[in-house]
């Protein structure tokens, strides 16, 4: 009981300081190595803002962010087919954009096999060095 006190105290003290980012279920995550192994069976989606996509992106990736969702979705869909796996990424582990875009692809477009890239663009760059 006594051992719990510091944890409870910290919980109260940091109640407004914790991040709201909810974790993504493991089944919806994919590592860079695994996604790369899918080869042509995967379609890459860049959920970062337009400027970041313009600066650099995973070769072959399509830009699809929530700033211009209505404009970009109809441009992405002709490249999708049911047997393809969709790999969505944003800047890094800490960003939420990939999770949000993946959720909309599942919920609104009702696509299956949509994954979020673990570590995002940062991890992809690291593995590409």
């Amino acid at each position: 009981m006594l051992a719990c006190l510091p944890a409870i105290g910290e919980g109260i003290y940091f109640r407004d300081k914790i991040s709201w980012q909810s974790s993504i279920p493991a089944s919806e995550l994919v590592t860079v190595d695994r996604a790369r192994a899918w080869g042509d069976g995967a379609i890459w989606v860049d959920a970062r803002p337009d400027e970041e996509f313009a600066r650099d992106h995973v070769p072959g990736a399509f830009s699809l962010n929530e700033d211009h969702w209505n404009e970009l979705l109809p441009q992405f869909l002709p490249n999708w087919s049911p047997e393809k796996k969709v790999v969505v990424y944003c800047s890094a582990e800490s960003c939420n954009a990939a999770r949000d875009v993946a959720k909309r692809l599942r919920d609104e477009a009702q696509l299956k096999n949509v994954f979020v890239l673990q570590g995002g663009w940062e991890e992809w760059l690291k593995k590409s060095r």
């Binding site: 337009d50 990736a61 002709p78």
Partner: protein
């Protein structure tokens, strides 16, 4: 020896007394933008309740969609101010939670970092399910249904559906309740891949009625090359070479999904 004890006691006292402390009026702000709002703005008010000045080292938003403005670099004891976080709604819907991480030079690590949270509830206008329907190449020419419901924040009474493509037939049927419709779409041909978007125009809000898109696609047969050539690394933001034909909304109308 006495001097040493005095110096030690004094330095402890000074350490305790000379403290910087930024107190936030609210570290979480709930915002409820209207259907026509383009941005949601949160004002995070603070006061330095300590006895020494506080310097901002960095103020970072969790996403590119949020910009921040600090009025000053340094906050003197007793001084008040605010950090303004502007969230650009774009094409987002539902509850959006964005954070702003503020780093100050407060020697106490627990006080040096504050995480400010902006929760924006963006009203959902039309619930379109699914917003994308597809037929596989060679699939039977069977109709598919799209259900449309106006939410309580968006009391549309009528919709009209337009398409630029001659390759699909669509018809709209009113649903069982007011503000509900079903669109039935049938492709005329599934022998080759093509796509289009249906433009769903509403009668709400009256001054600038909103429009929405439903994407229709006859997909590539399995194993076929993609419709577009992949972008080379560092290539400019080429988003699509052959985007589907999208009917244009009237100039005054807002477009959403």
């Amino acid at each position: 020896m006495k001097t040493r004890i005095l110096t030690f006691t004094l330095s402890i006292f000074l350490c305790v007394a000379a403290r910087a402390e930024l107190k936030w009026e609210q570290s979480t702000i709930d915002l409820h933008p209207s259907v026509s709002d383009k941005t949601a703005v949160a004002h995070f008010k603070y006061q330095n309740t300590g006895t020494t000045p506080v310097h901002f080292k960095s103020v970072k938003a969790s996403c590119g969609c949020t910009t921040t403005q600090t009025q000053k670099e340094m906050v003197n004891p007793g001084e008040k101010g605010e950090i303004v976080a502007t969230f650009t709604i774009g094409d987002r819907t539902g509850q959006q939670i964005k954070t702003v991480t503020v780093q100050t030079d407060d020697p106490n690590p627990a006080q040096a970092t504050s995480i400010l949270t902006l929760k924006a509830t963006i009203p959902q206008s039309l619930d379109i399910k699914p917003a994308f329907v597809y037929w596989q190449s060679g699939e039977e020419l069977k109709p598919k249904k799209i259900s449309i419901k106006a939410t309580k924040d968006f009391p549309a009474k009528n919709i009209t559906v337009k398409s630029n493509s001659q390759n699909f037939e669509s018809k709209v049927e009113p649903g069982s309740a007011s503000g509900e419709w079903t669109i039935e779409v049938t492709p005329k041909d599934t022998s080759h891949p093509f796509g289009t978007a249906l433009l769903v125009q509403t009668d709400y809000p009256k001054e600038a009625p909103k429009s929405f898109y439903v994407n229709l696609q006859v997909t590539n047969p399995p194993g076929a090359p993609p419709a577009l050539k992949p972008n080379a690394p560092n290539a400019p933001a080429v988003k699509a070479a052959t985007p589907p034909a999208i009917p244009k909304a009237s100039p005054s109308a807002g477009v959403e999904r």
